[in-house]
Symmetry: D2
Subunit: 135 residues, 4 copies
């Protein structure tokens, strides 16, 4: 079974969209990870703030990395996100994913995205199904 770093390296190296987002891995341990990316012009919506899909996508990648880091392949079942603060051009978004629950067949994770002033941008909760397949 691979370790968390190997698994996430494998996942991220082939993940075109996470790379388009400019995601960098800040920290990864079993069941936990921290990612960051910068808001670019292409990520803005018509209100000149980051499209809701940006912090969702960053959070969803954080969920995938944290859930898979334990060595078993996981797939997302249900996710929810509340956008609490607009992110603007050049803001640095940091997503911290923590494990709320790890059962035998499902796991629940929370991802908090904050900006460079440590203000909360979004709150995300994700439930994954844990497969029998190992990395």
């Amino acid at each position: 079974m691979k370790n968390p770093q190997e698994i996430i390296h494998l996942m991220l190296s082939k993940d075109a969209f996470s790379n388009w987002l400019g995601i960098e891995v800040i920290e990864i341990t079993e069941g936990k990870c921290t990612l960051a990316c910068k808001v670019t012009e292409s990520m803005l919506n018509g209100f000149d703030i980051a499209h809701g899909g940006i912090s969702y996508s960053l959070s969803d990648s954080a969920l995938a990395f944290a859930a898979n880091s334990r060595g078993f392949k996981c797939v997302s079942i249900e996710t929810s996100i509340s956008h609490t603060r607009a992110a603007k051009l050049n803001d640095i978004l940091t997503a911290r994913c923590t494990e709320l629950h790890r059962g035998r067949t499902t796991g629940i994770y929370q991802v908090i995205v904050s900006d460079q002033h440590n203000k909360t941008v979004s709150l995300f909760k994700g439930t994954v199904k844990i497969l029998d397949e190992i990395w």
Copy 2:
């Protein structure tokens, strides 16, 4: 007050990320809209399927257009999505947004994303706050 077509034209023309996604407006009426986009290489994740952020982003744009189409500015409070089927390269995703509830200060919308075979890719629910500001 502008009509739905004018509002959505205004929103989409300045929405860089929705344009990056290649979103096309198929239909828009008050409280309802249908959008489509094609899954490109840049939208794939490490499993060679569309990143969960793609159908979320498409759904979130559909929510924004449908909610704002009634003439009052709306902001998203809480959204949730279940990914029921993987989307693959070159799949055409169609997002149909319908209004489940429109109160005085909040609205609730459902977005179903399906592929070109009419298979459901994701189920999304979004709650918006209706502001006093008109378009």
Copy 3:
């Protein structure tokens, strides 16, 4: 394998809390069910309206019955509810549960609760895990 009526009869007859709620089964077919109950004094909260837990509980029972009606035991993974209108003393609440998605291992259901004037009281979405065990 038992039919939907037999399964729901079995579930409801031993379900003390659903009986406390006074739940009646209006209709049950595979993947679908309609339940009703009346708001009593004991169900009110400090604002003299039905406690949010009442329409949640009615919806959760509807989810359980609809999901289990297909013959395989199901357990709830994640549920969400939006309360759109207050229910008052003696209101008759009707919960209509429909299947949004039925995969091999998970199912997604929607429950709309309305009052006797056909006004929507709450919108519920529930995801279940489908077990290998048959009824």
Copy 4:
């Protein structure tokens, strides 16, 4: 403006359903509260475990008390709950509600329900609208 204890005393004393649940207030401060109740026979479902509506209702009361404790009346907009472990007859359920976000017009709260062995029974997230009305 009343203090948290006064507000919660006022809310709970008239809340018939929370009293039916046997809810006791363990702790209440601004934006935070801890409640407890015991699983009785009437709260069980057909699987002889607490009905999902029980931990939802306990969590929803905790949300209401924590959100209203800051002195402004609040109403629930959207709530979600994941049931992670079955609660059984005579289990003591403790609900700890914390504030994830408090904006000008909306607040987001998390409620973790655990049993007497400190095992997590459910994870709840609730979003409220903050009204202009003071207690």
